[in-house]
Amino acid sequence: MSIADRSAGAIETVGAWLLGLLWILPLAYAAWTAFHPAAYATRFDLLAPLTLANFVAAWEAAPFGRYLLNTTAIVTMILAGQFLVCTLAAYAFARYTFPGKSVLFALVLMQLMVMPDILIVENYRTMFGLGLVDTIGAVALPYMASAFGIFLLRQTFMTVPKELEEAAIVEGCSTLGVLWRVYVPLARPVFVAYGLVSVSHHWNNFLWPLIVTNSVETRPLTVGLAVFSSTDQGIDWSIISAATLMTAAPLLVAFLIFQRAFVQSFLRAGIR
């Protein structure tokens, strides 16, 4: 590497890290306030005493253990549903031609635009009709077919080299076989990306779960978290931060584990 390259590299590294610091600032702040008494929430003093009291207070304000379990069940269910439903649909959109394809695709994209909140009243009525109110299934069901996922996977599938599909077909793969053995493994980084995003999103989803569930046995973490936000008394940053860290920690850990999956070496050397 030349000197010019190296210094360019150094500038980029510094720039990337500055941006990173900026981006992590809220989390850093949350960590700061969560581990310090409320008095230090807005003052940064290296000698400030550490405490776990905020976590204790937050933990006790709601049955977080149970909520954690519920949330895990909900996001797992949604993710499994989305992977299945979206993969199938995206495959059809990416590799088949059939009459009405573009109209159907436009209809799918519509869902990206229709905000689910607007449909809450209607969807509640549907769930009530199905007798699903206050079940985990009711929380998950409306999100299983995700236009976001279909669109994303379609875009990805369309970049998979066609010859690989052809090779698989010649080897005797059925339609689903090709999907499962070629497209899905080749799109792995995108599946990981989608999985992380979907889990994060539903981990933090609040309004619909609040509306459609009534009992501790079905409610997700965010409902517990909401106890601390928007109170009449103003904001207690210490407790909110502690609760936030508590609820987000599993996600952060999951991200650290899965981020490696973005780096897949196998497509790196040219396969012609």
Binding site: E166, I169, C173, R268, A269, I271, R272
Partner: protein, 355 residues
């Protein structure tokens, strides 16, 4: 068992035909080579037979069944792709076993076949690698392995040996040929290597710009090229094509009047003392180890003659070039098609059957 009949097959890519109404038959258990210059439609033909492209016109039958509208999986074929088409996420072993797993071949048999194929192909050490960590030739061998283990009734191979060295290629040639015989596979094999075409095939289909220029046994093609194109395409160095006026000088008694061109293969030319045959001067000498190629100039026409490895000639030397009567080929001036002049009929010699 699995005869392939291609009938009037046509494939048009945005206006220009890549394959233009070709018909040929590959009998069951026969080894057919598709030969032709780059871009003439060999791969396209193969892909049409495999069902990977929809023909614009024409039909394909395999084993007596019209499969024109059938999916590739239903055609019972194995295929080596020119671009290898290895699955980058699978190891060598998984790549080779892909089809067997899909078809639920029992594990023990799978392992057995893998072991054999890996041995044949010299891949035993590499079974756990991903394709990205292989050399070009190794990738090609993996692609070959995938077709070999399939034991399909029909096998299509698209330049499967192009990235292998001479020695390995020779071994593979023998291996593929014997495998094909042993299993009675019907093979369609694309190659640009005429030695492969000559040594392996039962039948050669020579293509040119989407059409069939000539088809027949290798000897037929070599000894009786149907056109100037066919004559020059087979053989290295290619056949010399001379204007009839000049070429007539090679052999007494050849009429120069007819026009058109006269062809003679480099290895058939005898280079001797000046005075006998056509007078020519040596322009270049190329030493190939086993042979030496002489580039000759005869009245402005260029000829190449192949002589012994250590033939002692010098550049600039004037020599006489001649040949035997049966060695001359006559081609029409306009169409380039063969003319059977002077009762110079074509009789391909018997072909010695290889080991």
């Amino acid at each position: 068992m699995a005869e392939i009949v291609v009938d009037n097959l046509t494939k048009v890519w945005s206006g220009s035909p890549a394959v233009d109404g070709i018909s040929f038959t590959c009998a069951s258990g026969e080894f057919t080579v598709l030969l032709g210059p780059s871009g003439c439609g060999k791969s396209t033909t193969l892909r049409l037979i495999a069902g990977l492209e929809q023909p614009s016109a024409g039909a394909i039958a395999i084993g007596g069944r019209d499969v024109t509208r059938r999916s590739p999986a239903e055609r019972g074929i194995a295929m080596v792709f020119q671009s290898y088409a290895l699955f980058p996420h699978l190891s060598v072993a998984e790549n080779i076993l892909f089809g067997l797993k899909v078809r639920r071949v029992p594990r023990a048999e799978r392992d057995e076949r893998l072991k054999r194929a890996a041995q044949t192909l010299g891949l035993t050490q590499l079974l756990d690698r991903k394709p990205a960590a292989l050399s070009g030739g190794q990738r090609q061998r993996v692609a070959l392995g995938r077709a070999i283990v399939a034991d399909a009734a029909v096998c299509l191979m698209d330049e499967p040996l192009s990235n292998l060295d001479a020695q390995l290629r020779q071994e593979m040639r023998a291996e593929i040929r014997s495998l094909q015989r042993r299993l009675g596979m019907t093979m369609i094999y694309v190659t640009h290597d005429q030695v492969e075409a000559m040594t392996m095939s039962d039948r050669v289909v020579l293509m040119r710009e989407g059409r069939i220029e000539q088809q027949g046994t290798p000897a037929e093609l070599y000894d009786c090229p149907a056109s100037g194109f066919a004559a020059r395409f087979l053989g290295t160095p290619p056949m010399n094509l001379l204007p009839a006026a000049i070429g007539a000088g090679l052999l007494p008694g050849v009429p120069a009047a007819a026009g058109g061109s006269i062809g003679v293969r480099p290895e058939r030319l005898r280079v001797g003392a000046p005075g006998r045959g056509l007078a020519a001067s040596i322009e270049a000498i190329e030493y190939l180890g086993a042979d030496t190629l002489l580039t000759l100039d005869a009245a402005g026409a260029k000829l190449i003659a192949r002589t012994d490895g250590h033939a002692r000639h010098r550049i600039g030397e004037v020599v006489g070039v001649s040949c035997a009567a049966g060695d001359l080929h006559f081609f029409d001036a306009g169409s380039g098609r063969r003319v059977e002049a002077n009762g110079n009929g074509c009789n391909a010699p018997e072909r010695g059957e290889g080991a």
